[in-house]
């Protein structure tokens, strides 16, 4: 199933690499990825989409929440807000 995640990220050296690296290391393929500024210059918004089943989705949401620079992870479709 196609899922879109919205991630608020602290603008730290290497933060984007850590998110992308986590998905790659755990075998998830990111289909699309955009990074946008927010009203707070210290925070970026990542929007990414990927294909996976529900169990894998909940696992990658939990893993993403373990990244220290991640402020919030949301899956708007199911409102699984962090």
């Amino acid at each position: 199933m196609n899922h879109t995640l919205s991630i608020l990220l602290q603008n730290e050296a290497g933060a984007l690499v850590r998110v992308a690296g986590l998905f790659a290391a755990r075998g998830y393929n990111i289909d699309t990825l955009t990074v946008a500024a927010t009203h707070d210059p210290a925070v970026s918004r990542l929007t990414l989409s990927l294909q996976c089943d529900d169990a894998s989705l909940s696992q990658i949401l939990q893993q993403t929440r373990k990244l220290v620079d991640v402020l919030q992870v949301a899956h708007p479709a199911t409102a699984l807000a962090a």
Binding site: A13, Q59, R65
Partner: protein, 618 residues
């Protein structure tokens, strides 16, 4: 990222040195002092020299009452050794282990211990020197992209490019390492940041609002009456309940709470490799190790149980190789963990709680007692006792060759589960896990998840620094010890009374065991009979005054007694039966019912023939 004081500074909690001028390097050392660092491990080099100099000056200015250094910096043969020393120190003490290395090769040599500590949830703070900020990205001498490399294997990595953030970042690194599920944190510090003139603040950490909010939620989680009632309803219905305890029991310092829970409700306990010591293995209700090389009685108990309570354990593939067939008769599986991502990751559970383990166990014990709940487990206890009797660990006691199990039993008769034991990786590691008693947490130091050969010797060194007066024994393999054999010299340099045992089976015994089972006995690259090393001479060359080789069973008892009684560093090589195997064994892809128990441990089912197919799981 903004450095924020955690609370408003008042005159009384102002640090006595607040406002003092310090270099970045001095700030790093001052944070170490504030965090209670009493020893650090590392190797010097250009990009870390300012920090090393600051450590030197700090130690000169702050002698301990006994004349020793306040923060000795222990130098290994290789940075990997420093990382495993810091990890051994952390595992044995429960405190954060600290390692400090230079940029480029110093930092990349640290990758294996960092990954190893991540996989086993061990708190470390690793400081890496980095080339100057202006040179980053220019392929400078000894430059490596440490934030990228370590970011993929540490709990977190900071690259400090703004010197004003250094103090808060350093303090935050310690908080991150020890909070929640512990892990290694790397701080990459460019050389110019180490040399920047700063003013010491004395307090303040990075905000990290996402991490801290999530941490607070987990740390404040409590079990409601409804949660407790749901668990106890299932437990009171169960006839054969079992506790499956993992490394989380050790990390959470929950052994006493587990003891009290078992005393109150009588559940037998099996422990994972990482959980050994979390429950006294000599207790009648202890089933010792479960899993691929678990005791037959623990694995049979898992087969038979109808209720599982997993405590700080994650159903990993060495325990639940086939998750669907793990505990197949369990009608109810409950799980408590500090890490939300572990709940249901491998196996769906019927009840779970994410929160601090000690508090959860205390709460459950109090609830059960208050409601007068006493599971009636007499029949199950009798069955557990019978499993332990009928399927006890055993081996060829009549063999003329020295059996590794006999060596470990002999050592155990002296240590009684009270020594700190580290290991390499392979058969000797599994035998040590199976044949030693474990009476208390933090006495068993092994590379569980990564299975890193070369872990044993440096981990023992680190543990000896944590506990200078305790008996520390490294049970190593002839191949594993070669990986960090340079650290033999570190043992004698610091005159550590570490006892090193090499169980020499002339090769990679564990690899050979798999090659026998799955590759028709073709010993590709696992035989070391052409290797020339004389381990005893090697130990003597590194300054071991006591170094002996044991080859005859008749000499076993006396040699081990003399070895353990020696006051200083001692080295014992034991030429063991090269064909000795690790049994029981639940092969990859097999269920516990298909466990093979070998020729000396009675099995309760006819052994199932092994598939002659290579494994993808080794």
């Amino acid at each position: 990222m903004n450095a924020q004081p955690l609370k408003a500074e008042t005159a009384t909690d102002r640090h006595p040195l607040a406002g003092q001028a310090m270099s970045g390097a001095e700030v790093i050392v001052q944070v170490f002092a504030g965090e209670g660092v009493e020893v650090m491990f590392g190797y010097s080099g250009g990009a870390i020299l300012p920090v090393y100099d600051a450590v030197f000056r700090y130690n000169a200015e702050h002698p301990r009452a006994n004349g020793g250094e306040a923060m000795p910096l222990i130098v290994p043969a290789n940075e990997q050794g420093a990382g495993f020393m810091a990890a051994g120190y952390a595992r044995a003490s429960g405190k954060v282990g600290v390692a400090v290395v230079t940029s480029g090769p110093g930092a990349t040599n640290m990758v294996t211990p960092v990954r190893d500590s991540m996989a086993d949830s061990i708190p470390l703070v690793v400081i890496c020197g980095q080339v100057g900020t202006a040179a980053i990205g220019s392929d400078a001498f000894q430059e490596a992209p440490i934030s990228n490399i370590m970011g993929a294997c540490a709990k977190h990595v900071f690259l400090v490019t703004d010197a004003a953030q250094l103090e808060a970042t350093m303090r935050t690194a310690f908080t991150l390492a020890r909070s929640g599920r512990p892990g290694p944190v790397v701080v990459d510090v460019p050389k110019d940041v180490q040399n920047t003139a700063l003013a010491w603040r004395g307090s303040g950490e990075l905000a990290l609002s996402g991490y801290r909010t999530r941490l607070r939620t987990v740390e404040q989680a409590t079990l409601s009456d409804t949660d407790c009632a749901a668990l106890f309803t299932a437990l009171m219905r169960a006839q054969r309940p079992l506790i499956y305890a993992g490394g989380g029991v050790i990390a959470a310092e929950a052994a006493d709470a587990l003891r009290a829970f078992v005393d109150a409700f009588g559940l037998p306990v099996t422990t994972t490799l990482m959980g050994l010591g979390g429950f006294d293995s000599t207790d009648p209700l202890a089933l010792h190790l479960l899993g691929m090389h678990g005791t037959a009685y623990a694995n049979y108990a898992v087969e038979d149980c109808d209720f599982v309570l997993a405590l700080g354990a994650r159903f990993d593939d060495r325990v639940a190789g086939v998750p669907d067939k793990f505990a197949p008769r369990a009608k109810f599986i409950a799980q408590v963990d500090i890490d939300p991502s572990e709940i249901g990751k491998v196996k769906a559970v019927d009840w779970h709680h994410v929160g601090p383990l000690t508090r959860a166990l205390d709460r459950l014990t109090a609830y059960g007692r208050a409601h007068g709940l006493h599971p009636q487990l007499t029949a199950w206890h009798a069955r557990v006792a019978e499993l332990k009797r009928a399927h006890a660990m055993n081996y060829d006691r009549a063999s003329a060759l020295v059996q590794p199990y006999a060596v470990l039993e002999a050592i155990n008769r002296h240590t009684q589960g009270r020594a700190i034991v580290s290991t390499g990786v392979g058969q000797h590691q599994m035998w040590a896990a199976q044949y030693f008693d474990f009476r208390a947490p933090r006495h068993w130091l092994t590379s569980g998840s990564m299975g890193t050969m070369g872990f044993g010797l440096p981990a023992a060194i680190g543990a000896q620094f944590a506990h200078p007066d305790k008996l520390v024994i490294d049970i190593d393999g002839d191949a594993s010890i070669r990986m960090n054999i340079g650290e033999l010299e570190t043992v004698t340099t610091y005159n550590l009374p570490v006892k090193v045992v090499v169980l020499n089976n002339v090769g990679d015994g564990m690899v050979r065991q798999w090659q026998k089972l799955y590759f028709k006995g073709r010993f590709a690259a696992s035989d070391k009979s052409l290797h020339k090393k004389d381990f005893v001479l090697a130990a003597q060359a590194d300054g071991f005054a006591w170094a002996q080789r044991l080859e005859r069973t008749e000499e076993l008892e006396a040699t081990i007694a003399a070895f353990l009684a020696f006051e200083g560093p001692a080295f014992l090589e034991v030429m063991i039966d090269p064909d000795a195997g690790v049994y029981p064994m639940v092969g990859p892809g097999a269920s516990y019912a298909q466990m093979i128990t070998g020729d000396f441990i009675p099995s309760r089912a006819a052994p199932v023939a092994h598939e002659d197919s290579p494994s993808h799981m080794f």
